[in-house]
Symmetry: C2
Subunit: 348 residues, 2 copies
């Protein structure tokens, strides 16, 4: 087993290992297990068995897979269900599924009775390397992605590696975007393994690789839990990504949107005279093979970029790489964004 | 002007004075002003004028008065409206109205973009002495009162005393329940002024009195902001009160429910052999003259008491006064609750 400590108050541990779901136990008499349909199909029985073996009484709530669960309607229904079950402040929520599921479940945990304990069992690469660590929880509005939520740290994260093999390779490649991003903004050594032939859910070095990727996130989050400064760097590529997700009504999955978004950010950086990382982001897109984008104009994405959470009253701010692993949050002029859009559009 | 400092990180100030609304200014370029209909009718123009004079651009959102606004539907609509307005993280929400309005507006502020700045202009006695101080925000579920929410401290509270005179005296007497409760649990000298003939919104000593009442809450909140221990004492009388509100679908106003709830808690305490404070709680009800209760049985309120936030997996917990100003949080046996209910019922 590998472990990453997230050094917050209170500290928590991300455990990474094959077949960890068979040993997940939590110190709570009552557990509400919020599982997405896909993860439930493969993993629910064994997770419930291990929680019950640990002495917890478990009530299961199944939600649609992916972004379809991540809205205020599902949020409201879950809260009412928890209340009808009579769950009290000493109960816990355990999330089983992808990043959307843990974002939703974490926000429910943050909100029910003004906050109860929360654990995550991520079943996608994206959730393992990004969503389940750091306490960002929330849901989408029609007006934009992740516009509502709370910071609510989990008490523990259980990344059970065999779950990755139950999903299409496309889902694995989707999640690789966040791992590649951690490489770009903080640890360049993490980029190459992703681009090597045969990198997939069965790769023999996956546990060690994921430990290093998750360490990047844990380090940033420990320095800046509430995104006052450095934590925003984890949003590299996300300003356009969130806009692409919103404008396609989440038909484009988050990790693919981030793949595109990193490449767009790289083009913006090149125009501004920073280190040209477009070769790397293009290589990543070649590996990822994301869905084709619809025929969008800059005017389609601009209103969503303006509502990005990094914006302030003076305008949109982008994470830029002055060099690889030297990120910075800065305002970018609209002409530059437009010029970058023209170059970005040619490629797809 | 009187001021109470709430010694949290960051610290904030509760200002108490006549005609304070004419001087409310906040350091934010953009403000979303969430006002209840009643407060808007009397006070909106002057508050908008003072915010604008301070350099803020103000967008007004009006919500129904009282608990009618305090649900996830209104919450969701406000969040979408803020997103459509393009409000960014440096914007602020200002609440104008009663406790339900500030609870809702504070929860919107806690949730939008995972948290933006929040200011309160309470216009009812209840909001001034209780709801607007301490950062408890949230909404109700059909399943029970205040079951969803967040801790989100305001950056400032402006209690403008002339607003109290625009409301029915019944609303003033309603809010007096929370002031009386602060007396019972922490500062007995605060009880007598309320019971003196002619205590109302025009009382000459009101500013000084409110300062002392708010100081009780500020002291408790500073010691225990997240209700791990002492803060629960502020819930004296609230276990039955929340149940009465839920079972009457909020026809019984919060302060009147607290009036009844304190008396019920006092009867429970008397049965348990603690100092008999039923004389005080009965005197308060004589002053308050709350609405008549419907013909409820213990079975009607028990399920709602079981969902009280102070409950844990072993059962419901009540705040009990071992003596005046000596509160304690403890489990109470069902037989005692039933016996107390029989005595409580006779009186109404």
């Amino acid at each position: 087993m590998s472990e990453v400590q997230v050094l917050l108050e209170p500290q928590y541990t991300v455990k990474i290992e094959q077949n960890l779901l068979e040993r997940v136990q939590v110190p709570h008499a009552r557990v509400a297990l919020i599982a997405d349909e896909t993860a439930a199909k493969y993993h629910l029985t064994k997770l419930v068995a291990s929680l019950e073996a640990g002495g917890s009484s478990v009530k299961v709530f199944t939600v649609p897979s992916g972004e379809a669960c991540k809205n205020l309607d599902v949020f409201a229904k879950l809260l009412s269900s928890l209340a009808l079950e009579g769950l009290t402040r000493d109960a816990a929520i355990v999330a089983l599924g992808g990043g959307a599921t843990s974002d939703l479940a974490g926000y429910v945990a943050a909100s029910y009775l003004r906050g109860i304990a929360f654990y995550v069992c991520p079943t996608t690469l994206l959730a393992m390397v990004d969503a389940s660590v750091g306490g960002k929880t929330g849901v989408n509005l029609i007006e934009g992605k992740n516009l509502v939520g709370a910071f609510h740290q989990p008490k523990g994260v259980f990344a059970s590696l065999e779950t990755l093999s139950t999903l299409p390779e496309r889902t694995f490649r989707e999640g690789a975007a966040e791992a590649f991003k951690h490489g770009l903004i903080a640890n360049p050594a993490l980029m190459q393994p992703i681009l090597e032939p045969g990198f997939n859910a069965e790769s023999s070095n996956l546990e060690t690789f994921l430990k290093a990727v998750i360490q990047v996130k844990a380090d940033v989050v420990a320095i800046d839990p509430f995104e006052k400064h450095q934590r925003a760097f984890l949003n590299y590529g996300h300003t356009l990504a969130h806009a692409l997700e919103a404008v396609t009504v989440h038909k484009l999955p988050h990790g693919e949107a981030v793949g595109y978004g990193m490449h767009y950010a790289a083009i913006v950086g090149k125009i501004l005279g920073y280190e040209d990382v477009t070769g790397h982001t293009k290589a990543f897109l070649n590996y990822q093979q994301p869905s084709k984008l619809p025929n969008l104009g800059f005017g389609d994405v601009e209103p969503f970029m303006a509502r990005d959470k990094k914006a302030d009253s003076e305008g949109v701010r982008f994470v830029m790489l002055h060099e690889i692993a030297k990120p910075n949050l800065e305002r970018v002029r609209r002409e530059v964004l437009l010029e970058a859009w023209d170059e970005f559009k040619i490629l797809f």
